[in-house]
């Protein structure tokens, strides 16, 4: 970081970390913070502030076993709903789910791009297994990466125009004479505080939610493995997807028509695309390392008449044993 004139600072707590990240973002820089469950809980209020003020930033949450201090280094995907709804109020957010060390790198770049494009906090929702594993990572040359930068107004007149629009307004970053007025309170489309007008908060809620929804397919990408002829589909994300991929290969060797649908982006949830991907499935197994946080979303779009089964590991806080998953599938297929 210092060689690139980048600032790394260890703040006094996670509330301060996300606060200073948002402050730094308003100077026009790209800023991020990383934490796990308890710190992620502490950050929630200011993540909502980032959403309300449309501040691009990246928050890495390496999920551990909880609630509370739980187990420091045991895998669990317990923060999936928190990533979506952890701060108070009505809002939408982007969360990506990496399954490998390589994806930790690639998705961090992508998380910044999405944050800049949509002017929103983006959560890189990793889990303990992915966070602690050691794998080969190829770091491409900087020039070969796609980098998206936020739009910035060219003058104060442009900066003072109405900015609340689903098409994402330019960000009047500090220090350029825009006299930006940034507030987490309800405000009108010019940024002026309107704390007692329900119409203002109605407009904010609808607008900041509408800016990402039409682009859900581009944001929340799916990876399909051997789905074409599959009658049984495993749906998984994060570290669970690694077990699922192994089991799919094993099942194929035994002649079972099993495929994998991996969710690379989980919020906003890509209902339409998941529905399309699952349309020929007769059995859907949803692998999560929790008690079913994303399961209801998948169940909603699974084909009518298909059997939709939630499949956690035998012991929550450990990884799915491949033989256990295989036995469950084989039993059902059998």
């Amino acid at each position: 970081m210092p060689r690139a004139r980048g600032v790394y600072i260890q703040m006094e707590d996670e509330i301060a970390s996300i606060g200073s990240v948002i402050g730094a973002s308003w100077t026009g820089l790209k800023a991020m913070t990383a934490t796990s469950g308890p710190g992620f809980s502490l950050m929630q209020e200011n993540i909502g502030y980032g959403v309300m003020t449309e501040t691009p930033c990246v928050i890495v949450d390496v999920q551990r076993a909880g609630p509370s201090t739980g187990i420091v280094s045991a895998p669990m995907q317990g923060d999936v709903i928190q990533a979506r709804h952890g701060s108070h109020g009505e809002y939408d957010i982007i969360a990506l789910s990496p399954s490998s060390a390589q994806e930790m790198f690639d998705m961090t770049v992508r998380a910044f791009n999405l944050a800049e494009q949509y002017r929103t906090p983006v959560i890189l929702l990793a889990d303990e297994t992915v966070g602690h594993m050691r794998e080969e990572v190829v770091i491409p040359k900087g020039s070969s990466l796609t980098i998206i930068n936020r739009k910035v107004p060219s003058n104060r007149e442009e900066a003072s125009k109405a900015f609340l629009s689903a098409s994402v307004a330019p960000m009047p970053v500090f220090g350029r004479g825009f006299a930006a007025h940034v507030t987490g309170s309800s405000h009108d489309e010019y940024g002026m505080r309107k704390a007692s007008a329900p119409e203002a908060i109605d407009k904010i809620v609808r607008t900041i939610n509408a800016k990402m929804v039409p682009h859900t397919s581009e944001i929340s990408i799916l990876e399909k493995t051997m789905l074409e002829d599959a009658d049984t589909v495993l749906v998984a994300y994060g570290s669970c997807a690694r077990t699922a991929e192994y089991v799919v290969k094993q099942a194929r060797q035994k002649g079972l028509r099993v495929g994998l649908l991996r969710l690379i982006g989980i919020w906003p949830f890509p209902h339409e695309d998941v529905k399309e991907a699952l349309k020929s499935a007769r059995r859907v197994f949803v692998l999560e390392n929790n008690l079913g946080q994303l399961f209801p979303e998948i169940e909603r779009v699974a084909p009518e008449g298909a059997e939709t089964v939630f499949l956690p590991p035998e012991i929550i806080g450990t990884l799915h044993r491949p033989s256990y998953v295989f036995d469950q599938i084989a039993k059902e297929v059998g």
Partner: protein, 278 residues
């Protein structure tokens, strides 16, 4: 309106942001004007000034009324946000407007750490000794015995001495004045704005509506006379006993030391990293 009728500081006021939200008789107007006079005297260009506001009446001094970049943040956290702004762009003059509750209750941790790391953020702490905006609840600065909405039988706890707290945390510049001591306040603000490191400017401010009323001084002018009468300078206070100081306000400069600020330290780090071979 002819140009000569404009207030000399009106260039700092955001058009269309009126009317303000302060109660009549509030000390915030005095603090706002003192600050803008200091900015003007220090010659800080508007585009270099960023005001970060916390939650509480003090936040409404700059937000949205000052025609500069303003960041009005979550309760207790303005110093944390301001730290990010100052590290992100060291060329900006970053000023926090916070209250005694915002800075020393919910945000107390950020205050001591900002003082410790000497981040070049200037903190103007409006201390009215109560939670004014929410209706007069006890604050960490409320004197013992005072009856508030949440201490109807009198406050049991000892109040924080904020300026001394900042000194103890390693603060390099800390002053306390009141809304009565305008000339000294403007001078302290100007000095803070021309220094590099962290600065803590405590301003005892009169809140006739939610504090004065509870201690039997509901007239703002009387409250300022009370500040005048009860204030003793830090120099004079050195010769007074604890008993003599019990109901006094000690005012003046608590610390002024020259230590490299955090941005300077980062510059040195960048330079050292650049020289170090791969």
């Amino acid at each position: 309106m002819p140009a000569q009728e404009l207030h000399p500081l009106s260039k700092y006021i955001r058009k269309g942001a009126q009317p303000h939200t302060h109660c009549s008789g509030c000390g915030n107007g005095i603090i706002a004007q003192s600050f803008l006079r200091a900015v003007d005297a220090a010659g800080i260009p508007k585009e270099k000034l960023v005001c970060v506001a916390g939650i509480g009446c003090s936040g409404w001094i700059p937000s949205p009324f000052f025609d500069v970049d303003t960041l009005h943040v979550t309760h207790g956290r303005p110093i944390a946000f301001a730290t990010g702004v100052k590290l992100g762009n060291p060329n900006l003059e970053v000023v926090v407007f916070t209250g005694d509750g915002d800075a020393s209750a919910i945000g107390g941790n950020h205050l001591i750490h900002a003082a410790r790391r000497n981040i070049g953020v200037k903190v103007i702490c409006v201390n009215n000794m109560i939670y004014g905006m929410t209706g007069g609840e006890v604050a960490p600065t409320t004197p013992r015995g005072v009856k508030t909405t949440t201490t109807p039988f009198g406050n049991l706890e000892r109040p924080f001495d904020l300026s001394r707290l900042v000194v103890a945390a390693g603060g390099t510049y800390a002053t306390r004045w009141t809304t009565y001591h305008v000339a000294a306040l403007v001078a302290a603000m100007k000095k803070a704005l021309t220094r590099k490191g962290f600065a803590f400017l405590e301003v005892l401010s009169h809140c006739p509506v939610h504090y004065g009323r509870r201690i039997g001084i509901s007239d703002p002018v009387e409250m300022m006379r009370w500040f005048q009468k009860q204030s003793v300078t830090i120099e004079k206070a050195r010769g007074m006993s604890e008993q003599e100081l019990a109901d006094k306000f000690v005012v003046g400069e608590f610390v002024d030391i020259d230590v490299p600020d955090l941005n300077q330290m980062y510059e040195q780090l960048f330079e050292a990293a650049r020289r170090e071979p791969d």
